[in-house]
């Protein structure tokens, strides 16, 4: 399937050093983001990989953990691929080792590893840093080790504690929802989880990031558009590098987002993918983990508010009304957020970030997902093609929002 309809498509599929340099110069992004995007382009012409063969991982993992811990007698058991997830390969395993008290224990762990090319090309050290920054502040899996360049495990990866809990409650039609899109929670679940969901988001935004080691994050100045410039730069660059088809509505949206960029008064830690499907709850209906921090950045809290209430992610209530992150009406979500955080919701800014949110989901689903499947780079090629459908719904919504705000 190597037919290039235009010169631009040929350059995207076979990026030359000159083309990569032009792309890097055109889109302002954070330094760490530039590193991973540039690596992705340089790797693009490498041969497709076999995603199901993960037996190769057992020995490198064992060596890596022995090296990291200095324990030559530790063992790795039950290495298994996890279902679900869309952007990273995920595995679970049991580590038999001696803990910090010197006692032998069997520890359930998970690995998050980059595929050959991902729907969101992100930085494992950056994800590790943000998880450590959030540890103790909000419920997250504990990160134990990281291989940021993939020197030991073949691809960049992090190893964290494996937590038990529920991400997708049973659905009315017994179907699983891809990446948690459109989940349904029964009223009793919604009642138990809604406040926790909002409170944790408020807590994330209250993390004093200046006191954390976030060396892979660019710290934007207060009262400037810098955070938004680099964030938009990331998504524009992802679109430009990955799309298999130019799209006039996406160009319209990018231009509007550039020309209407709001000031970020006081940058906060933005989760970047805060929604149903990215949290887990235990048997006591307590949220015990927030996942998928790989899109975190320092920016405006309205971004998380817009994303979490995006209609495309939310499932319906019993009357068919779409709920913010499948848990509560959007007005209630915003009101609770103001109460828990003390931050005011600026509806003009919220509208801007709604446009931005639809732009982002359209980039992920209509460009990057389809690109990685085209390049045969992931373990999820069939799913990546299928999820293109979300992207075109996103583009449609984006156009309708732009008509309304213009």
């Amino acid at each position: 399937m190597n037919k290039y309809y235009t010169d631009t498509l040929a350059k995207r599929a076979q990026p030359t050093p000159d083309w990569i340099a032009q792309v890097r110069a055109r889109f302002p992004v954070e330094k760490a983001i530039d590193e991973v995007f540039t690596r992705k382009l340089k790797n693009r012409t490498q041969a497709p990989r076999q995603g199901m063969d993960f037996t190769r991982l057992q020995q490198p993992l064992l060596h890596f953990l022995r090296e990291q811990t200095g324990q030559t007698d530790l063992d790795v058991r039950n290495l298994q691929r996890l279902s679900g997830g869309a952007s990273k390969e995920q595995f679970s395993f049991t580590l038999d080792w001696s803990n910090s008290s010197g006692e032998r224990e069997s520890l359930p762990l998970m690995i998050r590893m980059d595929p050959g090319e991902s729907i969101v090309e992100t930085h494992r050290l950056r994800e590790c840093q943000v998880l450590k920054a959030a540890w103790g502040e909000v419920p997250v899996p504990e990160v134990l080790w990281t291989d940021p360049e993939g020197e030991h495990l073949g691809q960049p990866a992090l190893i964290a504690g494996f937590l038990e809990g529920t991400v997708q409650p049973p659905q009315p039609d017994n179907d699983e929802r891809m990446s948690g899109v459109g989940l349904y929670f029964k009223p009793d679940l919604r009642a138990a989880l809604a406040d926790q969901f909002v409170k944790i988001l408020a807590d994330i935004h209250a993390i004093d990031w200046r006191k954390k080691d976030l060396s892979t994050f660019d710290a934007p100045p207060a009262n400037s558009v810098r955070a938004m410039q680099t964030s938009l730069g990331l998504w524009e660059r992802a679109w430009y590098e990955d799309t298999l088809s130019a799209h006039p509505v996406m160009e319209r949206a990018a231009l509007w987002l550039r020309e209407n960029m709001p000031t970020v008064n006081e940058p906060v830690l933005v989760h970047g993918d805060y929604r149903s499907g990215n949290f887990m709850y235990d048997v006591d209906l307590k949220i015990n983990a927030i996942f998928d921090w790989e899109l975190a950045y320092l920016g405006d809290y309205h971004d998380d508010l817009a994303w979490a209430s995006l209609p495309i992610f939310g499932g319906p209530d019993e009357h068919g009304n779409t709920l913010a992150s499948s848990l509560m009406p959007t007005e209630e979500f915003l009101k609770k957020y103001e109460q828990f955080s003390g931050n005011r919701v600026d509806h003009d800014k919220l509208r801007y970030y709604q446009v931005f949110s639809f732009y982002k989901i359209s980039v992920i689903a209509a460009a990057t997902s389809i690109r990685v499947a085209y390049s045969r780079k992931t373990h999820l090629d069939a799913m990546m093609n299928f999820s293109g459908g979300i992207g075109y719904v996103g583009i449609s919504q984006l156009n309708r929002l732009l008509d309304a705000v213009d």
Binding site: H247, A254, P311, M383, F386, G388
Partner: protein, 188 residues
């Protein structure tokens, strides 16, 4: 020729659902096989409309590009960058002429031509800040109905993938492509 494509697809879907899936034990493999079966079901709904979809888009892009060029040329002298894109569009129209019978072209030709026209329209959209205010306003006004037609069509095309929370409000793609007599809309 038989079997028809529809029969190939429905046969594969049935085999996947009734033979392969029930015998898979790995959770991840089950999940992926389910997506393959769903994809085959989606392909059954669209495979016979792909050529006409591209043909329809070919007309739409030719019409909008001719329209915006005419508008830009009537509004006086344009910036060099805009002139350059107009030249590229005219050059493309010498390869895929608006008056040609595009229905006689192969699929790949239409696809390539449409992609070229999409890229050129996108270049013009990015150059809007270089247009005088009234020219830009006219340009945007011309594009709005085009954008609406485009996103409505695409949304109908992907309706069968099951992600649209407003799926019941979207027309079937056949309704958008064909008129009440069964002919492709916009035919000349």
């Amino acid at each position: 020729m038989t079997p028809e494509i529809e029969q190939f697809l429905s046969g594969m879907k049935k085999t996947m659902e009734e033979v392969v899936l029930p015998n898979l034990t790995d959770r991840f493999a089950q999940e992926q096989a389910g997506i393959v079966a769903a994809t085959l079901g989606f392909l059954s709904t669209i495979h016979d409309k792909v050529f006409h979809y591209e043909l329809f888009e070919n007309r739409e892009y030719k019409d909008i590009l001719q329209d915006v060029i005419s508008g830009l040329e009537n509004s006086g002298e344009q910036e060099n960058d805009i002139q350059e894109v107009i030249s590229k569009i005219n050059k493309h129209f010498s390869k895929d002429r608006p008056e040609d019978q595009s229905a006689l072209r192969p699929y790949a030709f239409l696809r390539a031509s449409n992609e070229t026209m999409r890229e050129l329209l996108c270049e013009l959209i990015q150059l809007q800040p270089a247009m005088p205010a009234d020219t830009r306003a006219q340009f945007e006004a011309r594009l709005k109905p085009f954008f609406r037609s485009l996103e409505t069509r695409e949304r109908s095309w992907v309706k069968g993938l099951g992600f649209d929370p407003e799926a019941d409000q979207q027309a079937d793609i056949a309704e958008l492509l064909y008129d009440e007599k069964g002919f492709l809309r916009g035919g000349k």
